[in-house]
Point group: C2
Chain length 266, copies 2
Amino acid sequence: MIRLGIFDSGIGGLTVFREVRAALPGADILYFGDTARVPYGTKSAETVTRYSLQIAWYLVGRGVDAVVVACNTSSAYAIDVLREVLDVPVFGVVEPGARAAVEASETGKIGVIGTRGTISSGAYQKAIARISGDVKVIASACPLFVPLVEEGWLTDSVTRDVASRYLAPHLKGGVDTLVLGCTHYPLLKETIGEVMGGDVRLIDSARETAREVKAFAEEKGLRDEKIPGKERFEVTDSPARFFDVGRIFLQHELEDIRQVNIVEGE
Amino acid sequence: MIRLGIFDSGIGGLTVFREVRAALPGADILYFGDTARVPYGTKSAETVTRYSLQIAWYLVGRGVDAVVVACNTSSAYAIDVLREVLDVPVFGVVEPGARAAVEASETGKIGVIGTRGTISSGAYQKAIARISGDVKVIASACPLFVPLVEEGWLTDSVTRDVASRYLAPHLKGGVDTLVLGCTHYPLLKETIGEVMGGDVRLIDSARETAREVKAFAEEKGLRDEKIPGKERFEVTDSPARFFDVGRIFLQHELEDIRQVNIVEGE
């Protein structure tokens, strides 16, 4: 049996939680959402890295076998530091997403969308370039997508207008593959798909990441599906809003949500 | 000469800073933006109160004569606790806004818009009821307004669509006065005014608050306009984005921005 710690700036990482749960029904999962300091996408590399370290250390202290960084911004800024300082394997969402995009693209023109932080870090662009030198990447930030999802306007006409605006450079650039580089974006798949047209492949980093975590569990002999794994949710702000918005993400109600404080004096 | 500490969850409080600066050109002002934990509007009463206390204590430790709570959510949740524990006067934005709205309204139908936190706290509704029992209040949250302002889409067609949606209950309810109960909203005055029509008065809490702070300084003999006051900006995240978005708010560049850490271990 594998014990996994999945962390995110807040609620969005539940898309990763869902995929990991589907891939490893027997895993014990501790999901940590930093809802008192969310979002990370508009904050600096230094601040996001500091927060990510605090959370990862906390999870390791709770005895997890591996840490999954569900937050794209955190994966983009902090993954190298986390791997350097932690004694357990660390999975981010950027590399699996980048790999899947390169595999999916036939024309070698790939679009990446994400928060300001994720895009300006250049993490996806660099990860894609490491895998294939022969790819053209168009990357752009879509800061309104997260608040639109949290408002629940998943297929609203306003959301479609915003998407048309944000995705124009990708359409113009003729990408055949678009990486949804933020945990919230898979919930906008329908709207983004409509704007981009049916031929463009949408890459969901969450699903790709779950595949890698599953492969790791199998390799280490930690996959055990005899009994369903436990799950627990810990958040830094009051659980009420996490509970409410969590339903949009998981389509069922979350149990066992607790508020914790991981920073002394905070 | 008066030394003022103005704090906000982030950048938005610069609308209050601007009005206080105009009202008291001789005041020394320390502006504090909690950009590493912004926004407050989606967070719980307990978390917002804890953050507000940390900042207010820090400002008092820096020797300010009064604390101005520029953040509406913070004013809504934390003002009573702050007044209880601090030894200096504390000014919030809710009461001045409520007073101005009651004075401005002829029909007694007042609308209030703000963040989820501000609206669900009921602070404006209660403050208005305390001033006049004969007023009907329609209050609603407008969560997308802040990200739209920070995207710089102040008079965009998307913003007008969102405003039409959010303001429909106020139009339908026939309010003659609308309180802009969030620091960011004065930047949407043009768009909100277009949707509501020219006869509806828009109340800018920032301006009303500045008037009260000025009256306090005069009463205490602390108003001194012989030399222009100093100003300094302190933020908890990197100053870069505060500098960039600050220009949208002040229409000029900010000098002397420093990053500080007010929570030990954080």
